[in-house]
Symmetry: C2
Subunit: 299 residues, 2 copies
């Protein structure tokens, strides 16, 4: 990289990727983008970016490649093979994978990329679509300190809390822990809500006083109205949280960490999906507790 801003290739322009790439353009970066959907490429062009016809074309001139795709198989699809990032990026390129995937996939990718002289950071995010648009994401990073330092100005155009958590895969591990805590805490609140309502308590008053004490949480703050109004429009879909509970369950098994409650909640998330609620916000865990408690739940 010269003193000029690094040239960026962005792979994956979905709900998260599009506003993030646009924030880099606003910050003055030259962004070349690739994604499967033409409408998203048109949106990038309208925002001042350069659409590419292929991954190879997007990454060939880039100093930094950023990937933001749904899951491990998509990361592998864009990284490997003759048309992929590793085969077409220049040695010395920094690859920042911001997708939420298994830690092992990140470790494997760093190793394969390293053999081609490509440096890698895993840098999954928390904060959702709103956090992406407002550039206030939490970004959990795994990899080498020098690469983190090089990436920091770019990441600062995308998020607010940006922390190097350890070696390759550590960002994914922390993201997995994040999804574990969030799901368990939503489930705790859902059980409390059903208990409070069946007990004839004023729910709005109860949630207010609960959030003021040791039971208080960001989940309770952000999801209180979802619970009170039974409003389960996403937000963050149960289908995605199901994927993430699979990641954390699997990763914890690999390192021999017991998740006695995480395992139950992974099951409850899977059950909710089986009950047809996969497209709802994860606060819809309340519906699962309501069904278990014999309450009528609207379709």
């Amino acid at each position: 990289m010269s003193n000029a801003l690094p040239k960026i290739a962005w792979i994956g322009l979905g709900i998260m990727g599009s506003p993030m790439a646009e924030n880099l353009i606003k910050a003055g970066y030259q962004v070349t983008g690739y994604t499967l959907e033409q409408a998203k490429l048109d949106r990038l062009a309208a925002a001042g970016g350069t659409p590419a016809a292929s991954i190879a074309e997007a990454v060939r001139e880039a100093d930094v490649v950023i990937t933001m795709v749904p899951a491990s198989p998509q990361v592998e699809a864009v990284a490997y093979g003759p048309e992929g990032i590793l085969a077409n990026a220049r040695p010395g390129t920094l690859l920042i994978d911001m997708s939420s995937i298994t830690p092992q996939t990140s470790v494997d990718l760093a190793k394969a990329a390293g053999e081609k002289g490509i440096r890698v950071l895993d840098a999954p995010v928390s904060g959702g679509e709103a956090g992406a648009i407002e550039a206030v994401l939490s970004i959990m990073v795994g990899g080498e300190r020098a690469d983190f330092d090089a990436a920091l100005p770019i990441l600062q155009a995308l998020g607010r809390t940006i922390v190097l958590c350890g070696p390759h895969g550590s960002g994914q591990t922390v993201k997995a822990a994040n999804q574990l805590i969030v799901a368990v805490n939503i489930q705790a609140c859902a059980e409390a809500v059903v208990f409070l309502e069946k007990s004839g308590v004023d729910l709005a008053a109860a949630l207010e006083v609960l959030n003021g004490g040791l039971a208080g949480s960001t989940v309770l703050t952000r999801k209180k109205d979802n619970f009170l109004n039974r409003d389960f429009r996403p937000g963050f879909r149960i289908d995605l949280h199901h994927k993430d509970m699979g990641i954390v369950t699997d990763a914890a098994r690999n390192v021999g960490a017991a998740l006695p409650v995480g395992a139950v909640v992974a099951n409850l998330v899977a059950a909710l999906r089986a009950q047809g609620d996969g497209g709802l916000d994860h606060s819809a865990l309340l519906r699962g507790v309501e069904r278990l408690s014999g309450l009528k739940v609207e379709d």
Copy 2:
């Protein structure tokens, strides 16, 4: 009650009761106290209160009686019988029970007291010894609105967030929900901590970034150092949380509310106690997860 401040009888001068009674004295109230321990009565006298030789003597001249004792059996012991509050307080007295007990005990007490013309509020608190000393407790109240309004100036000398949650027993129900959410959230954090450490992640960095996102909570803020330093000095003892998990489990069964995760956590709290950790802070749930994960846990 005249225009002068109501005369208060305080029953139960333990870790919570002593500083709370002293806060009322500081606020200008005349407080007559009774408890089983002479040293606590001496402390009350030194603070400007009046020790009584019996419950009957303490409550006879009182406008308001406040009880703060460990559990349901102690509330029943001080309320009922010829030497108890109901037999010795004047009709028109307001009895505020700030103990954490079963909602049903509060409902029964309100009924029995009502037959003697004594009004009752259940008003359990959250915030611990520090909250009691600093008069910043959260106070969850059940009972009649008029009695709540009458009690409010007194409660404002003890706490900061003071909410009427519904009819008799509702304060206890919300406290039970509080203890449910707190225990489940501590367990979630404990599972995350073991998973993160076994994965080789920088735990302090990870907890920082986790607390900045949707996984953030008052538990993570207040207990982070306990987790990082394996410091499990109470704080709030597992023995007491075990009692509270019994209350919420029982109360939820009574109203037909399912607690699929709460039930598991109640078991994990009970197991920790069986393992000899009942005297430790509830953040010691981490020790249970460590044992399950094959980690050496110091005695």
